[in-house]
């Protein structure tokens, strides 16, 4: 298990945890040795606190789950004052902060504040499927380019863009990120999907959310493969990584680093177990 670099950021191993599946990191400190991880990617932070979507937010499906959280988070101020210091006190592992917003200005404001914080990288969440009334920025290559290049001008941190799989050509968006100055692309975010509650009840409305878990792994592998063929910046692969075999498949597809997503809910030590396994392989 070798160390890798993404932009200026050096990671002792290529195992990360995916944004949104690992809270602000500290929630896992009693169960997981955070120091063993390559990097912790936080839950997406927005400028203002967000209350998120009404319940129910979690649905189990065959080999995966659908979530409709709606980016509930404490907001930038509380993150910087409370969550980040708590995490930094707990571990020396690099912290990559995922940030989100509806407009470019929101991203810029967040970055301007985070520039003074002790963080190790930024991940732009351009692909949340659950923002109310919002659209997915990374579905448009021009908007992706504009946003990434605007943020790039404002920060020296390693910059990663997280992409949505719901596009006609993922390589175009990855290219737009690269051209905008991103140091890496993360893919894939959860796949936009619909859940129907018990079909026998009168409740007929669809629940929109993001599908994740083993069931999206092979879609993710394809996209990781295609993107690694078309951009020079590193690809961080994710989507249904549950075990070491899955991890190896993503490396085979060309990912330089990988992230464990909702498997963290199933087994909080998934990433650690993969790291231990890969050490044996060398």
């Amino acid at each position: 298990m070798k160390s890798i670099s993404i932009g200026k950021l050096k990671l002792k191993n290529p195992m990360m945890v995916a944004s949104g599946t690992f809270g602000y990191g500290v929630e896992f400190k009693d169960l997981v040795d955070l120091n063993k991880l390559g990097a912790v990617v936080t839950k997406t932070i927005t400028l203002e606190p967000r209350e998120g979507n009404p319940k129910t937010r979690i649905f189990e499906v065959q080999y995966g789950m659908i979530n409709s959280i709606g980016l509930q988070n404490v907001g930038l101020e509380k993150f910087v004052k409370e969550k980040l210091p708590e995490l930094k006190k707990t571990t020396k592992t690099p912290v990559i902060v995922s940030i989100g917003g509806k407009k470019k200005q929101e991203f810029i404001k967040i970055v301007e504040i985070l520039n003074y914080e002790e963080i190790d990288g930024l991940e732009l969440n351009l692909s949340c499927p659950n923002i109310m009334g919002g659209k997915i920025i990374s579905q448009d290559k021009k908007e992706t380019y504009n946003l990434v290049s605007a943020v790039r001008k404002k920060t020296k941190f390693t910059l990663i863009t997280k992409l949505s799989p719901l596009v006609t050509d993922i390589t175009e968006i990855a290219k737009a990120s690269e051209d905008g100055g991103a140091d890496a692309v993360s893919l894939i975010n959860s796949f936009p999907a619909v859940f129907y509650r018990s079909p026998l009840t009168a409740y007929r409305l669809p629940i929109f959310g993001g599908l994740s878990g083993s069931c999206i792994k092979h879609i993710a592998l394809r996209m990781v493969y295609l993107v690694t063929q078309s951009v020079k910046i590193p690809v961080i692969g994710m989507g249904g990584i549950m075990n070491t075999k899955d991890a190896l498949e993503f490396f085979k597809a060309g990912a330089k680093a990988i992230a464990v997503g909702c498997a963290n809910f199933v087994n909080p030590n998934t990433a650690i177990e993969i790291i231990e396994d890969l050490k044996k392989w060398k």
């Binding site: 929630e27 189990e60 409709s68 959280i69």
Partner: protein, 282 residues
């Protein structure tokens, strides 16, 4: 909080759909407090997420859970055998605040965590339970759990079934309401309730009318169980987290109108026990 493999050391089918399992784990048994729960990995392939279960009672190196078969997860769990080993995370969640003058109201398997509470109160203040009352509500005689256990603790037990097959006939909420009418109190009682949500809502309403303190223990679909995913939420009135909600246009095409200053609290981490007056019932 631990993640560990735990052996089923006894299994009892209480009635057609109700099961009592005893697991071996000194760590969880030592740390667990009334109100807390565990997340159990039931199966690697047939279910994806863990399932939450209240801790029913503990004894040195073992702890019990009670569950009703309601879906695929509990169905598979009910088929596990003595000697099987399951991966468990726990104990999780907050505690029932202990009072000197408790009234318990239980519906279905909700009685599990209340038994643990009654035992702890008995242990801490041996005299109290002789004055404590437990209301046990169920659909039919078969579904009545732990009547004798509460009697052994010195509680006055009042049972009702919806079909009248045992105890009083009717809903336990109505019987609870009648009971509260004439009783004079030397010490204002605190009501603890756990069971189906409509029952909790009614009990909370009755307690509000009578100006009694009421703690409810909630159940919700969960993914992580440790406060990271924000999946299991309950709307509560908030002063600390002020987000003025307008009529939010919903991505789920559900009617989502909220006019309170609300915050979504996590059932797994901020709960499962909540002060009933804070909850915004649907």
């Amino acid at each position: 909080m631990y993640q560990l493999d735990s052996k089923i050391i006894s299994k009892k089918q209480i009635s057609e759909k109700y099961f009592l399992f005893t697991f071996e784990s000194t760590k969880i048994a030592k740390e667990a407090k009334p109100g807390q729960f565990v997340m159990i990995k039931i199966d690697d392939n047939k279910t994806f997420l863990r399932r939450p279960f209240s801790i029913c009672c503990v004894n040195k190196n073992r702890f019990n859970i009670v569950f009703k078969v309601v879906g695929r997860g509990t169905e598979i769990l009910s088929q596990k055998k003595v000697g099987d080993i399951l991966n468990i995370i726990g104990p999780l969640g907050n505690l029932y605040p202990i009072s000197q003058s408790p009234i318990f109201v239980a519906g279905g398997t909700g009685i599990a965590s209340l038994l643990f509470l009654a035992q702890s109160i008995r242990f801490a203040h041996p005299r109290i339970n002789s004055g404590a009352t437990i209301f046990i509500g169920a659909k039919t005689k078969k579904d009545i759990l732990f009547e004798s256990e509460f009697k052994k603790l010195g509680c006055k037990v009042i049972v009702s079934t919806e079909d009248g097959s045992y105890g009083k006939k009717g809903l336990i909420t109505d019987i609870f309401k009648k009971f509260l009418l004439p009783t004079p109190y030397s010490l204002l009682p605190v009501v603890y309730t756990c069971g189906p949500k409509p029952m909790l809502k009614k009990i909370a309403g009755i307690c509000e009318d009578k100006k009694l303190k009421c703690f409810v223990s909630l159940e919700e679909k969960m993914a992580c169980g440790i406060g990271a995913c924000m999946g299991c939420i309950i709307p509560v009135q908030s002063s600390e987290f002020r987000v003025r909600s307008k009529n939010l246009k919903s991505p789920n095409y559900e009617l989502r109108t909220t006019n309170y200053e609300l915050a979504y609290k996590r059932v797994c981490k901020d709960g499962p026990v909540f002060d009933a007056e804070k909850i915004i019932w649907e």
